[in-house]
Symmetry: C2
Subunit: 134 residues, 2 copies
DNA sequence: TTTTGTGCAAATCCTTTGCATGGGT
DNA sequence: ACCCATGCAAAGGATTTGCACAAAA
């Protein structure tokens, strides 16, 4: 993990390390409050402001992504590999999915207006396994 | 336009008709403030609350879509045809694009966990024509 | 006259910021 | 000592809500 902070030119404070580890190790795209609660278990005095401040820094450094979805506050994503999202319209759950074909198609998209592609996020909405058959 | 309101079971008040028309006739995915300003030209006494209230109703009725993008307030989209979005990371511009292949691929996506697909929004980020070569 | 929609203002939620303190080098 | 990150509390922006009045049925 040390290299990550080194590369990002961010000093690896305890708060940052605990926050980053939490974000990286879970795949449920938590919001700031959830991360705050998790970090607080280890660092009872941490503040919500610190969580927000550092999430912003992580995003700037490419260590994380902000995911704004309707119906909730921003979700945060520590997965830096190319991937896309499944959004459950019933429970609000967000999960990752990967698709070779989609990525290839994305790379070769013919876009008019000379748009220069930097990235792509596919959001598939629907019902997750749990919500489909209760 | 009357049928749209009929189908949505929304009474076609002046405010709603002006707002809907504005939203439907522009493709720049305006935010609530921009729509408010536009509607105000015709209805000087309209309130921002009415704009927000009705946008929500439009979305519930499937007449519009909310588009939460980072770095700005919610954008609203009156295009009800299947389409995707180009987001310019420089100027914040949002535009539509269409792709047969993408839609077909989306329809046939093999998703594990028994996810039942309802819709798909592809967000391509990058530089729009204007920002690419200034 | 009953219902429904509106304008206004206040409230709420999420996120950011200013500032004094504390920790690390 | 210096600098940067933190905690706290206050500020800020976007959106929603309560309420009294107006419009429509």
């Amino acid at each position: 993990m040390a290299q990550v902070f080194l590369a990002a030119e961010l000093s690896p404070t305890v708060q940052r390390r605990v926050l980053y580890r939490e974000l990286r190790d879970r795949s449920d795209h938590p919001d700031a409050e959830a991360l705050f609660a998790a970090v607080k278990q280890r660092l009872p005095d941490v503040s919500l402001a610190t969580v927000y401040r550092n999430l912003r820094l992580f995003v700037e450094a490419g260590m994380a992504t902000e995911l704004k979805v309707e119906g909730s506050s921003s979700r945060w994503d520590g997965n830096t590999h190319r991937h896309h999202h499944l959004l459950c319209s019933a429970c609000g759950d967000v999960s990752d999915f990967f698709s070779e074909e989609l990525d290839q198609l994305g790379d070769s998209l013919e876009l008019d207006r000379g748009f220069e592609v930097q990235g792509m996020d596919v959001r598939v909405t629907g019902l997750c396994g749990d919500c489909r058959t209760p």
